[in-house]
Symmetry: C2
Subunit: 243 residues, 2 copies
């Protein structure tokens, strides 16, 4: 019989073990941990597994290592909040600020792409794209103006009229079986002209952050090209940068 039960990986159990070891031994920032060999016995895993756990804890800012000396507790846990280096869709961003997201579809276009889109998605001649123009609200305040284009060939079940409480990313993953993996984003400051401000129903002069993104799936295919204009009065964007 197969007693199928949920199992965490040993590595993540080892991470918890190390953190528990640190707190139960009351280690302070700058203090030295036991050697890897000892720690592996304490935590109850092999040294390789422990080292993988230590590597993750180091990336997450809990500890640091010095070759030939030892492993030490970090001055302070940094990087608690993930930033722009982690890919999230607009819906996820709005939710992560504890705002209630709402979407208003302005229009959906199907047709030949303009040069920019064709370039960014590396489309072949005559390939069609679907472009969604949407206003996004956070707690009913205007939050993001977003223009997203995808190759029409991806929409095997026809083009959705909206994404029924789902984010576009979720739609891609759940319905189209496209696993979104990464994005290359360009970030720049932006202000809408008076005309566009009126259309979007905002007062002119508000500063926006424009995120131009090419979204890539797990096989490296370029599946979305989007322009997302974030109202800088509602959002703060962080980036965790490593040397």
């Amino acid at each position: 019989m197969k007693t199928e039960r949920y199992r965490k990986s040993l590595v993540s159990l080892a991470k918890e073990g190390v953190l528990k070891y640190i707190s139960s031994n009351n280690l302070k920032p700058g203090d030295k941990l036991a050697s890897e060999i000892e720690l592996s016995r304490i935590v109850g895993v092999s040294r390789s597994t422990l080292r993988e756990a230590l590597a993750e804890l180091s990336r997450e800012g809990y500890i640091y290592k010095k070759q030939g000396k030892g492993t030490f507790v970090m001055e302070r846990a940094n990087f608690l909040r993930s930033g722009l280096e982690k890919f999230e869709g607009v819906t996820e961003v709005i939710r992560s600020f504890n705002y209630k997201p709402r979407t208003e579809v302005i229009k959906i276009e199907v047709g030949a792409p303009n040069e920019e889109i064709k370039d960014m998605l590396e489309l072949s001649e005559e390939e069609m794209v679907v472009t969604f123009y949407r206003k996004r609200f956070a707690n009913d305040k205007f939050a993001v103006y977003s223009v997203s284009s995808s190759p029409a060939s991806l929409f095997v079940d026809g083009i959705p009229k909206c994404f029924e409480n789902e984010s576009m990313i979720d739609y891609f993953e759940n319905h189209l079986k496209i696993k979104v993996n990464a994005a290359i984003a360009e970030i720049s400051p932006f202000v809408f002209d008076e005309n566009m401000s009126r259309k979007l129903g905002i007062k002119p002069g508000i500063l926006f952050l424009l995120l131009k993104q090419v979204v890539v799936d797990s096989m490296g295919r370029k599946v979305i090209y989007s322009l997302d204009y974030y109202n800088s009065e509602l959002f703060r964007f962080f980036i965790n940068r490593k040397r």
Copy 2:
């Protein structure tokens, strides 16, 4: 006798081996590589080492894996250019755009920090800071206005008048033996008011990107808090985002 010679790590040799295998077998995007066991024999390393090499190649966008199926050549190599997720100082950023950097020091202040700086650097009471106000030029065009503060206690050799053709980061690493490791940055759009525009010698209304950063060394100490205002007409900022 010990013939001390330069040795690359086996992992990086294995990476080269895998890339050579791909090209010499003329594998195209979407093609399947040999299994890990086979590949490890072909490349001549153990499976663990090979797997580490494959993991890096996957991060770098050359290949992708599907459990139970195999390893495949990526549709295209993405992420060729590193972006904001990699920490660089202003000088490095200017150089990476192939501009010639120049710095003009406006003033250097030593004294008690304001609340913001004290907060961000987590200073104790009565700790002093040094603040550098600098204009940075790229090919003699105004590129960045930068305000950087550090705890005065770090400057063991006295406060430098300028950084003599060195970047501040280099000065920290070479003279103060402080290994800069990471930064937490907040990015936002910005415009200078007329008064400040005049002082900086730019025409008003230019859009800037403000990068507020806390720079952290290898031990997790907060060593610099800086505000860097980048002229968006001269720079384009990219971020590689992973799911």
